[in-house]
């Protein structure tokens, strides 16, 4: 083994290289953000939340429709339309309910043709185009001998029968189709998402206010008042809440936004109150709080000042998790006919409205339903991610 010249000289203290790397001291939030960034699901959730919010907030300004704007002529149109060219520069589209609409070559709806006759025996519809007759023969699916043709109908105009569409294209007028009174489904989902988000956000904030106040009072008061207040919380916890939310909604019988926000907030503050009380209790024990107290600062002031920064993390998580709960409850209530109702519409209302026609126009139900699912997923992922990013047990890593 070869030794070097200075190997057996003592190191002076300045040369002693302290190999410990000092990990960058990060602030609480920077550290949280650093760990949140590593969590793919959480980032997916965050992006989802941002996209959904943008969609709900700004989406409506990019559509040509108001959310309650009806065009009964164009009711119940699907996502894709078959355009037939029945004459030079005359393009038509036949809706599933056998209404004939004159369209542009690219599929934009122009106007509806009046139905001029209906020949039940021959399974034919007649429409009137500027005095000329357009005939639709829908016997193809109904008669066995015509089954081979494998089409639903044909259109005859000026003696020529058109069996094959000129082209099948997406619905240019209504990107996600229209509903039973000809409202744009996309626009309605945007507004619905906005309403659902509004309700969820305000309900969460409202319950936050109640929860924080209640929890802080209980925690600071201590003794019998604390006991009593926590007993009440226990009792509220032991009843099936949704049932009572339903009951309150029945009683108030006002399906406005405010009502549902208040009702949801009124019931979902319990967890927050527990959390805040726990934080207050542990804060009360802390030395700096005792110290500040000796200096004559009143206890509520101290607690308030220290509570917010200390409890911020868990409260944020609870808030994020409360939003999907509120979205769910709101859509549930609207779905059973208790939540938001006309003229407003939340996603739940949209689902409820579309339920009757689920067999014929499933997309009118699927679209808002998927939107709800997306919202819940995004917020849950984000909440889960936040929770683990803030978990003190995992903080070291």
């Amino acid at each position: 083994m070869g030794y070097q010249q200075n190997d057996f000289d003592f190191l002076d203290s300045s040369r002693k290289t302290d190999k410990e790397q000092i990990r960058e001291a990060l602030t609480y939030w920077a550290d949280t953000w650093r760990r949140l960034k590593k969590n793919k699901m959480a980032i997916a959730g965050l992006i989802g939340v941002i996209l959904i919010s943008l969609f709900a907030l700004f989406g409506p300004s990019f559509t040509d429709y108001e959310f309650a704007e009806q065009h009964t002529d164009f009711a119940n149109t699907p996502l894709r339309v078959e355009v037939y060219e029945i004459s030079t520069d005359l393009y038509v589209y036949l809706t599933p309910a056998y209404r004939m609409i004159v369209v542009e070559p690219d599929g934009t709806f122009l106007y509806r043709l009046d139905q001029s006759g209906f020949d039940f025996a021959n399974k034919q519809f007649h429409f009137d185009y500027e005095g000329e007759d357009v005939m639709v023969d829908y016997s193809y699916k109904l008669l066995d001998e015509l089954a081979d043709e494998n089409i639903d109908y044909s259109i005859t105009f000026r003696g020529v029968e058109y069996k094959v569409p000129y082209k099948v294209t997406s619905n240019k007028s209504y990107p996600l189709g229209s509903d039973n009174v000809g409202r744009d489904v996309l626009t309605r989902i945007m507004y619905g998402a906005r309403i659902s988000l509004e309700v969820a956000l305000f309900a969460a904030l409202f319950s936050l206010v109640i929860g924080v106040t209640y929890g802080a009072i209980a925690g600071m008061a201590g003794s019998w008042l604390d006991n009593l207040m926590m007993r009440i919380v226990d009792i509220i916890d032991s009843i099936p809440l949704l049932l009572y939310v339903i009951l309150i909604m029945v009683i108030i019988d006002n399906k406005g936004l405010g009502t549902i926000i208040l009702t949801l907030g009124l019931f979902y503050w319990v967890g927050m109150a527990r959390l805040v009380r726990g934080q207050v209790l542990s804060l009360k024990e802390q030395e700096y709080v005792l110290a500040a107290r000796m200096l004559g600062v009143s206890q509520p002031v101290i607690i308030w000042r220290h509570l917010i920064p200390n409890a911020m993390g868990p409260i944020l998580v609870a808030l994020t998790m409360m939003i999907p709960t509120a979205v769910f409850t709101e859509s549930f209530l609207s779905f059973i006919g208790l939540g938001i109702s006309a003229p407003l519409a939340s996603l739940g209302t949209l689902c409820n409205d579309a339920l009757d026609a689920i067999q014929t126009y499933p997309f009118q139900l699927l679209a808002p339903a998927l939107m709800i699912a997306l919202m819940m997923l995004a917020f849950n992922f984000l909440g889960d991610g936040l929770r683990s990013a803030l978990d003190p047990r995992l903080r070291k890593g």
Binding site: Q4, D7, F8, D9, L11, D18
Partner: protein, 341 residues
């Protein structure tokens, strides 16, 4: 030596975490002979528990024994499968842990857990195992064992739970009993009783003990040999007498100095030496103690010292024992040949 029961050679245990390899144990060697009470001391995080778990074959994902050998009565343990290891665990080598409050399953009775272990390793039938369980509880000093056997852990005090743990551990008369800080969670009078019990049972059953502790006072009372660990490495191993009489490693010296000389005889936890233990994720290339060592030399930073054999029972890993090093009072220097490994 013929009565060597456990021979650990150059053991390495590494945790392959997503942040990198944590080398918790980095090449340590020692033997346990029949009748020994071997103490392992060292600061928190020095790899004592990981060493014990490696012997038990209980190192969990993402960790594993990454090198070296563990010979138990001539049998290589590191090569055994988990199922094969189960024939040794609880029967030939058993272990008790630091926290008796959480080390027993809360939803089963003491008797149930004890009998389960007995029947796992013997051919006794239910009644015989039950009788044996009562006998064991009696041996570890639990009063009214016939009644207590039906109790759940939460009905036992901390000391009684640790006694029950010991009963379980000795139920099959193991050759080695590993105790990882068995008394840290207990109060002082109970500590003494438990240690006393362990040593008494060891003698009765002709087994040996590996006692992991922070408490040099305990070491001086019950152990005959000591391993001093730091940063996953063995700094010094010696008989108890040699260690306390003439420590040959600056770290050991530091440890001994940090024992509070308390006239009441009450022992306290070690007051750590200045500085913090090394980050085992990126261990320093040289001696792990060099950043904190008052005698650190140029070579210490570059390369860890070999284990210098100072007597039959005493060796230390420190460059000060090299004949080229400056002479420091109390530290002996040896010839190059007596280097061990």
């Amino acid at each position: 030596m013929s009565n060597t029961i456990l021979d650990v050679k150059n053991l390495r245990t590494t945790f392959y975490t997503h942040m990198g390899e944590v080398q918790a144990v980095r090449g340590i060697s020692f033997e346990v002979n029949q009748g020994d009470v071997l103490g392992i001391v060292g600061e928190s995080g020095s790899g004592k528990s990981v060493t014990a778990m490696s012997i038990m074959g209980l190192v969990d994902e993402p960790g594993r024994v990454s090198g070296g050998s563990i010979l138990f009565m001539g049998q290589e343990l590191t090569k055994l499968s988990d199922a094969e290891m189960n024939e040794y665990r609880g029967k030939e080598i058993s272990m008790i842990f630091q926290d008796p409050m959480t080390s027993l399953n809360p939803v089963y009775t003491i008797g149930n857990q004890l009998i389960e272990v007995i029947r796992r390793h013997t051919d006794l039938d239910k009644d015989q195992a039950h009788a044996r369980a009562i006998e064991l509880l009696q041996m570890v000093g639990i009063p009214e064992p016939e009644i207590r056997i039906k109790n759940y852990p939460h009905q036992f005090s901390g000391g009684m739970r640790q006694r029950a743990m010991i009963a379980m551990a000795i139920s099959c008369s193991p050759k080695i009993l590993i105790a990882d800080e068995p008394t840290t969670a207990l109060d002082v009078t109970i500590q003494a009783q438990i240690l006393d019990l362990m040593v008494r049972l060891k003698n009765q059953l002709h087994s040996s003990i590996i006692l992991i502790t922070h408490d040099l006072g305990v070491v001086s009372e019950v152990c005959n040999k000591v391993n001093v660990m730091y940063g996953g490495m063995l700094m010094e191993k010696a008989s108890v007498f040699e260690l306390f009489d003439s420590p040959q490693h600056p770290y050991t010296l530091g440890l001994l100095k940090s024992i509070p000389r308390d006239v009441t005889g009450e022992r306290k936890r070690l007051v750590p030496i200045e500085g913090t233990p090394p980050d085992l994720l990126k261990p320093p290339s040289g001696c792990p103690f060099s950043p904190r060592c008052p005698y650190a030399m140029g070579i210490c930073v570059r390369e860890a010292a070999p284990l210098y054999t100072l007597s039959d029972t005493h060796s230390a890993s420190c460059w000060l024992h090299h004949k080229g090093a400056p002479v420091v009072e109390g530290f002996v220097q040896v010839e190059e040949e007596s280097v061990h490994e």
